[in-house]
Symmetry: C3
Subunit: 343 residues, 3 copies
């Protein structure tokens, strides 16, 4: 069970209700009344616990589990031990996610404005918001309903934030329009002026950065990630995109819908990332290039050119993944030759 100091377990739930909520089918319909009390990993699950099997690699763990019930794909259900009721589902991990949220429903903090928060008189705050200690909300800011503005977050003049957003502690947002259901984690910086200056023998001359950051609905941005505002055009992050910790997104970058951007990725100015693209950790993208929709970029890759839709690339400089693997193999082979052999 999750640590009660941090998580609150809701009451028991009958399998029938879990099956319904997750769109799963009970392998034994007569067990619909069986009460589950918690979710748990298959290894440690007990009789009233609900687990999931997503990765075939763990089939032996599944065979030995003591879990009372388990989400599983229909073709693997026959491996279930005698005591485990199967909830068959095409996407057991998603079903588990939904069920886990039923046992541990997100807690809504009580509506309040902390006495130490400073909210400008011209700001418009929606219903049922939480404004925590030290939050600073500037002139003409608009915030929707049911938002949480966590401790010490700074929302600068004119920023607009939708409903059901969670703005983490120590976040700064400026020059930005943010959709509904957006989550910004600790320390995120949105809307800083980008890294733009004219180079001149007498020094650098800052170029006023006159664009904004536009963040679509249901975007999540990890801790200490930085998103610079546009130089003239906007920096844009599309609906549903997930961005991990410590990512850098430079000015004028356009990111599509439902992309996945893993930790420590860096995206240089004016680059475009298509819908559903996935960027592995620490990948670096040069400026002014275009990553196609659905493209997959391996971790640590370095991209200096466009990538077509659906392509999978790897390496620095990045090449198609199959070629990258061949290059790795051929280099390893060359390096292991004995002296005297022809290179």
């Amino acid at each position: 069970m999750a640590d009660r100091r941090f998580f609150t377990l809701a009451g028991a739930l009958p399998l029938s209700r879990i099956a319904e909520a997750t769109g799963s089918v009970l392998s034994d319909p007569s067990q619909g009344g069986l009460a589950m009390t918690d979710v748990a990993p298959l290894e440690t699950a007990e009789k009233t616990h609900l687990g999931f099997l997503d990765n075939k690699k763990y089939i032996d763990v599944f065979r030995a589990t003591k879990a009372g019930a388990c989400f599983v794909r229909v073709e693997l259900a026959s491996h279930a031990p005698a005591g485990t009721v199967c909830l068959t589902n095409k996407n057991p991990y998603k079903a588990y996610a939904i069920a886990a949220a039923m046992f541990y429903p997100p807690e809504r903090p009580e509506t309040r404005v902390a006495p130490s928060a400073v909210v400008d008189a011209s700001a418009k705050i929606g219903a049922d918001c939480v404004i925590e200690e030290g939050a600073v909300i500037g002139a003409n800011v608009k915030i929707g309903d049911r938002c949480r503005i966590q401790a010490h977050a700074v929302i600068r003049q004119g920023v607009e934030i939708g409903s059901d957003c969670d703005i983490g502690p120590h976040v700064t947002v400026s020059h930005a329009l943010i959709g509904d259901k957006v989550r910004l984690h600790h320390g995120v910086c949105i809307g800083r002026q980008g890294f733009g200056f004219a180079i001149d023998p007498a020094g650098f001359v800052a170029v006023p950065q006159l664009g904004r950051v536009i963040i679509g609905p249901d975007v999540e941005i990890g801790a200490n990630t930085t998103v610079d505002r546009g130089a003239g055009p906007d920096t844009v992050i599309g609906q549903g995109t997930r961005i991990d910790n410590l990512v850098q997104i430079a000015h004028n970058v356009k990111i599509g819908k439902y992309c996945v951007i893993v930790a420590q990725v860096g995206i240089s100015g004016s680059t475009q990332v298509g819908d559903y693209a996935m960027l592995g950790g620490q990948a670096g993208l040069a400026g002014h290039i275009k990553i196609g929709a659905g493209a997959k970029v391996a971790a640590q890759s370095g991209l200096m050119r466009d990538v077509p839709d659906g392509a999978e690339v790897m390496g620095s400089p990045a090449v198609p993944i199959r070629q990258s693997m061949k290059q790795t193999a051929v280099l390893a082979k060359l390096a292991t030759r004995k002296k005297g052999e022809e290179a």
Copy 2:
């Protein structure tokens, strides 16, 4: 036009005044009285807008623009469409930067000390400063004139900051002496004790870090970047240097004047970077090495050795850029051979 929620447009300006301020020459001197109302990209510019052409690649956009006037190099001015007055200049991007700042002059926030700021009685704060909400300013701190200390910034005991500085929200500065016109963005950490410890079978023994961070005038440091203080010698960042977001600068590092350090670069302890050097994003520099003046390091490069003045290097481990490209090409060729071909 830039979003009025975030930017304030100054009034119209005659071309003659823009030409004078930027050191440009009007292609048609009789048009000096023509009033411009805004800057804009050439694609979307209208009759009273001012654009710029810096990159020859965009010459067709220039030919088709509706901008009333445009900064351009003299040799390209003949491509201007009939309705566009040229302001010829050797550095059109710099001229644009100056003009854009005339239309959108930096706004000076009103002088004030927020009631929630905590300023030690022994601190000396110059004239016309802004000290925002929650800022904490320690004993014996000295801050020059016209500085902005943004929300929740923490300035520790003894730190000295010049005039016209902008210390961003959630910044911490300790053990540092900072010149005039320095900008530190959101979340920057200056002066943390470096990563120094003696390794011992019984654990690690911290080595007291007795140096400082010295930051020259007109330095800019991006969001969430970290600069550790020296171990004995100081960590030094030279005049005018521009550092992007999420960069790591370890103890005792010396960075020269007017360097450009792109996002997510990491510089290990005691390394020296010469004046005017440029380090591409995510480059990593080993400790105790010397990067020559004017050197250019490509993105994601890994440097384990000294780099001569003016050299251009690439790759991990880094080699001269031409060699790096050859290596990439030869490896690609080897990997595409058919089986049976001689390697």
Copy 3:
């Protein structure tokens, strides 16, 4: 001497006391009464200063030093100049660390709770703690004795922190149990929900992250580093481990004791790092792999597979260091062939 604005020098100390405290042997026992006033680098040290020689490379500096005394390994002591008393020690750098801390003892800030700190009535704070400006301490938090909670740090509900900890400015800690003597630097984020979601055609479904972060005693974590909480299992950092700035540690990662993790390393979910392992700067570790105890991973390496105990690896993808060097050499050779030569 260290800058008096930032550091406070304790009084003079006789060599005998320094020798005793550091477990060193005086080359000339009659000099035990000689008073040292400070530590200093050998180059700049004066008569009453104490230096150290750790790296043979600096033997000539040692020969020419004016330091009154110097920590040195016994086999190098004969190179000391006439005026320098040797304190011989197997680990001169460690001895220096101890001595430097005698001259510059860590200053304990005065016990206090800042008026702007917000401490929940149910939180239990130990004796002699410092709670600085704007710190926010949630319900049921437990904090041991002699802790410093720096400005604006946010400690969420239920978190437990041992004694003698230093929680830096702008830190957020949630869902975590933290041992004694732990130091978290500026901007660290502990306990964020990990990057976990089920992929579904209709978007992403967040998977509740029900684990914690467990941090052993004497761990140090650098500025702006992020450590996500477990998804079900915990994220664990073992005793004594040192983590540098801007590191990313994903959910379920287990890090052993006394590891060294240099700046900007990224460790993906569920990966395990054995005791005493060392990860060079910007190295990236894929998820679900195992790095053996005592392994050494070179800077910028990319790890996709397990690494055996004690192995040294390099490159992306990483291979044994010797092989990596051969690969680098063979590739350089191939690239420098003239046209017409056999490849």
